[in-house]
């Protein structure tokens, strides 16, 4: 028997007046998956996530989260989800521990407050008022507040925007910990490396449309997209490159071959160099990074 997906959206639309913020989005996220919605500012990430959380009504489409319609799921639904919004405050005259205990007390299942304080690395601040925390520490507290009810599905809207690199790694560790517990995580970000590091699957969203979807390794045709072979030739006499390779030459002498068949072209190239007795300097084969693919996808979308 097939396990029903944790999160499902079919032809989801959202209009703000004349703005079509979410345009026929389909999503299927399985239980235990870490799913990343990747897109630039204004793409519709927060709107999509907040509809799934039950914070915003949708204009049309079908949505199911843990079998509930978020708009009508009410208390039983909210007992099983955790929410970290993009911008959010908590009464900052409370201490870190008081805030966690207060919010934990609302849930039937609870994670240990002490354990959570350690998980997000706020032990030294546990007894301090929230108002004395730095921005990154607050965001980590919010991460802990999102997990305090031991949710089956956790929504994270840009959880690490504005973090320094070490705080981001720490937050990633927290999310990895959740996925190892079998929790479903829906995360939005505009950082490529975050999607690359955390996600089982990625959907790229732009102007309310999902324009590509897949694993971080294959999204946007990344697995089959053209690779670039770059090299220099150190030669003391003029030479002709093999004419079945299309080679671009830059001004500083670097040569590049753009190819969808790197194995064959590399073989041709090195065979030619060995036969001719040349050296290929700084030889490099590069797969397109997720960032390359993403920028290309977003660029195509914007160019329409």
């Amino acid at each position: 028997m097939r396990v029903p997906p944790a999160i499902e959206a079919r032809r989801l639309h959202k209009w703000y007046g004349d703005v079509h913020a979410v345009d026929a989005v389909n999503l299927t996220i399985d239980e235990g998956e870490v799913f990343c919605l990747l897109g630039p500012n204004g793409a519709g990430k927060s709107t999509t996530v907040e509809i799934l959380e039950g914070h915003r009504p949708r204009s049309s489409g079908e949505v199911s989260v843990l079998g509930y319609d978020p708009q009508t799921g009410g208390r039983p639904f909210r007992e099983r989800i955790g929410i970290v919004l993009q911008q959010q405050a908590v009464e900052d005259v409370l201490t870190v521990r008081e805030a966690l205990e207060l919010y934990a007390s609302m849930f039937p299942k609870q994670r240990s407050v002490d354990e959570l304080i350690d998980v997000v690395g706020l032990r030294p601040k546990a007894k301090r008022r929230i108002r004395t925390l730095s921005g990154g520490q607050r965001r980590r507290l919010e991460l802990a507040l999102g997990m305090v009810g031991d949710p089956d599905v956790l929504f994270l809207d840009e959880p690490t925007t504005g973090f320094d690199p070490s705080a981001r790694r720490q937050a990633w560790t927290v999310v990895e910990g959740l996925s190892s517990l079998g929790k479903t995580v829906l995360l939005t970000t505009h950082y490529m490396d975050e999607a690359q590091n955390l996600a089982d699957r990625v959907a790229v969203i732009s102007a309310g449309n999902i324009i590509a979807e897949g694993t971080p390794a294959t999204v946007g045709g990344r697995g089959s997209a053209a690779s670039r072979i770059s090299f220099r030739v150190s030669a003391n006499r003029p030479f002709d490159l093999p004419d079945d390779l299309s080679v671009d030459r830059t001004e500083d002498g670097e040569l590049t071959v753009t190819t969808t068949d790197p194995t064959r072209d590399l073989y041709r190239l090195t065979g030619w160099a060995l036969d001719a007795g040349f050296n290929l300097d700084r030889l490099e084969v590069r797969q397109p990074s997720l960032e390359d693919v993403y920028l290309e996808l977003i660029g195509e979308e914007a160019g329409e």
């Binding site: 959202k14 703000y16 039950g54 204009s59 049309s60 919004l85 409370l94 849930f107 039937p108």
Partner: protein, 280 residues
């Protein structure tokens, strides 16, 4: 699943709202100390002799009036400002994302405000009794307690209404001050009623729920003036209680209709997608 009981949720919210109140010195000062300063100023200006038209001392008149004023600040003003600010900050939205029932959150806020109103009144009356010789009368105590409870409930629901209609936390103080202060001047809080008060002003005061609260509460401190019979029932102010109940019920019903959990602009009503957009 052991879901927390409604009672423990509300109790937890009351305790947490109280904690926040005591850690916000400005609110604590205005609610608890500010009305006391009026009592001191009035007794210094007028002396604590009998007010000729009323037959009671300055403190006997002002201590109950200002106790009511403090209770109204603790409920109406605090609830409106505190709730509107919490909405601006996104705290209400955060609460909406948890399993805490919305009514339990509002009940927690109201419970905490009512508790603070009682503290404000006890402080005012305590100072009045101990320092200025204000007298209390056992036969009017039931009326005093019932009046206070109904008044606090009424002004709590009006506080939630003010929170609901205030566009933002910044404008909530303007909303409460613009409504409460003018009302206080025609409701026997700052100015004792005299023979020269125009009748229409008296009538206007009686329509709104502040003067009935003040009058019913003050009369518990002047039984010789107001009693219809000597039994405790004869001291009850049914008409005044009725006005407050009416305002309270109307206020909370309207507040529940108009209440917003997100700041203005947080969620605008979207128009439905055109049917054709969904083909395929």
């Amino acid at each position: 699943m052991n879901r927390p009981s409604d009672w423990s949720l509300v109790w937890g919210q009351i305790r947490y709202q109280n904690k926040i109140f005591w850690r916000t010195p400005v609110a604590a000062f205005f609610t608890l100390v500010f009305p006391l300063m009026f009592l001191l100023v009035f007794t210094v200006i007028f002396g604590n002799d009998e007010i000729p038209d009323l037959g009671v001392t300055t403190a006997q008149f002002y201590a109950p009036a200002l106790a009511v004023f403090g209770a109204v600040s603790a409920t109406y003003t605090n609830l409106a400002i505190g709730t509107a600010i919490a909405r601006d900050l996104g705290i209400l939205k955060r609460i909406r994302g948890t399993p805490l029932p919305p009514w339990a959150y509002l009940a927690g806020r109201i419970g905490s405000a009512a508790y603070l109103a009682a503290i404000a009144a006890v402080i005012m009356l305590g100072v009045g009794i101990l320092v200025f010789g204000v007298e209390v009368y056992p036969e009017t105590l039931p009326s005093l307690v019932v009046t206070f409870a109904v008044g606090v409930a009424c002004w709590s629901s009006l506080g939630m209404l003010a929170a609901a209609v205030s566009p933002s936390g910044d404008s909530a103080p303007a909303v409460t001050n613009a409504t409460l202060l003018p009302l206080a001047f025609i409701s026997d809080v700052f100015i004792p009623p005299g023979p020269d008060t125009p009748v229409w002003l008296d009538t206007v005061g009686n329509i709104f729920p502040l003067k009935p609260f003040v009058v019913a509460f003050q009369d518990a401190f002047t039984p010789q003036v107001a009693a219809t019979t000597d039994s405790w029932l004869g001291h009850m102010h049914w008409a005044e209680l009725g006005v407050m109940v009416a305002w309270g019920v109307a206020g909370i019903l309207l507040a529940l209709r108009l209440f917003r959990w997100e700041p203005k602009g947080g969620e605008r009503v979207g128009k439905p997608a055109p049917v054709t957009a969904d083909k395929g």
